[in-house]
Subunit: 139 residues, 3 copies
C-alpha cells in the first residue's frame, strides 16, 4: 500500500474560468505506481469547483449557463450585503458543485471515459491562481 500527493496551480479566469487537468492527474497516477486505488482531488478555497465533463466549448458554454441559472452573478446576495466583496454567487456555485472529486484507479488507469475530462472551475468574480491538490491511495 502506498499514497502519493501532488499539487498544481492554475491561472483561471473570473466567473467560469475552466481548465482540463486530466493529463496532470494521469501523470500523478503513473508516477505513484499505484495499480488499484483512488485519486482524491480538492481545489483549495470556497469559490471554485471540480467536476468531469466533455471538455469542448459547447458543453462548457452550456455548463456556464446552468451555473448562472443556479446562482446568477447579477442577483443580490446576503454574503455581499455583509462583506461587500461581490462574490456571493461564487460561494453558492462552489457549495453546490463542490470543490472535491474522487476517481477510481484500476490497472494503473484513471477510470474515465474518452469524452470525460477532469475539469477545474473558478467561480470567483476575479481571475485567480487556484491550487488543486491530488492524493492517490492504493497499492
Amino acid at each position: 500500500m502506498a499514497s502519493r500527493a501532488r499539487h498544481w496551480e492554475y491561472e483561471l479566469e473570473a466567473e467560469f474560468g475552466h481548465r482540463d487537468i486530466t493529463d496532470d492527474v494521469k501523470q500523478l497516477v503513473a508516477d505513484s505506481g499505484i495499480r488499484t486505488g483512488t485519486v482524491s482531488l480538492g481545489m483549495v478555497g470556497s469559490t471554485g469547483g471540480i467536476t468531469t465533463i466533455e471538455y469542448e466549448s459547447g458543453a462548457l458554454q452550456d455548463l456556464h449557463r446552468a451555473v448562472e441559472m443556479l446562482a446568477p452573478a447579477g442577483e443580490a446576495y446576503a454574503h455581499n450585503a455583509r462583506w461587500g466583496d461581490g462574490n456571493g454567487f461564487s460561494h453558492i456555485r462552489s457549495a453546490l458543485l463542490k470543490t472535491g472529486l474522487s476517481i477510481p484507479v484500476v490497472d494503473g488507469q484513471l477510470q474515465l471515459g474518452t469524452w470525460q475530462q477532469v475539469t477545474v472551475l473558478n467561480f470567483d468574480n476575479r481571475s485567480r491562481r487556484r491550487k488543486v491538490v491530488g492524493v492517490v491511495t492504493g497499492e
Copy 2:
C-alpha cells in the same frame, strides 16, 4: 492495508434510467475483507451520474423533475449545435450531479441509512449499457 476493485455493467434507459446498486457495492465490500476504509465509485462516461436517494418511485420521479429543471431535455444547447448528437442536456446533468461518489466503510459495513440507496443514473438521450467501477481501500 489492501484495496480491491470490481466493475459492473448495467442496462439503463434513456434520459433518467436508474438502478439501485447498493447490494453490488455491499458485496464488493464483503469480498474485500476490508473493515475500515472507503469505497470510491465512478460511472465511466460524461452523461451519467451516481448519488444516494431513497429508492422508491415517488422520490425517483421527483428527482427526475429536478434534473429536468436543471437541464431541460427540450432546450437548445451549444453542444448540440456543434455536434448534432442531441444530448447536451445529458452532459449538463452529469457535470452537475457528477459521476462519482465515495462512501465510508466501518466494521466492514457500508455507512448508509436504511432508506438510502446507491443509485446510478443514465442521463443520455438513448438507453446505454453503463460501466460502473468500484474500489475499496482500507484495512
Copy 3:
C-alpha cells in the same frame, strides 16, 4: 499504511439546519497520524448533505435560498403523495447535493482554504440528530 474511523452526532434544525464540523474532522486527521491520504465523510441517511462553504451567516442564507430554488419546501412531491411524510423536498435536496465528501490530506493537514469550512446540512422537515462518519486512509 493505516486507516482510522470515527463518527459524530449533531443536533440539526429542520429544513436547513447547518453546522461547521471542520475542527472535528481536523482532530480525526491529527489523531490518525496519517500524513498523506484522504478523508471520506458521509452523513448517514437520505435527507441530509455535506459540502464546504465559507461558514458565515450571509453565505449560508444564500445557500438556503439556492436549495429552496432547487427543491421548494412548499411544492407538491410524488414522494409525499405516496408516503405522506411531507419531506419530498428533503430527499431531492439531498440527492442533488449528496451526503458524502472526500478531502485530501497532505503533511498531516486537511487541504482546505481559510474561508472553506466542512458543513453538514439537515434538509429533513423536522430537526434531526444526524450521524456523520469519517474515515481517513493513507500513510
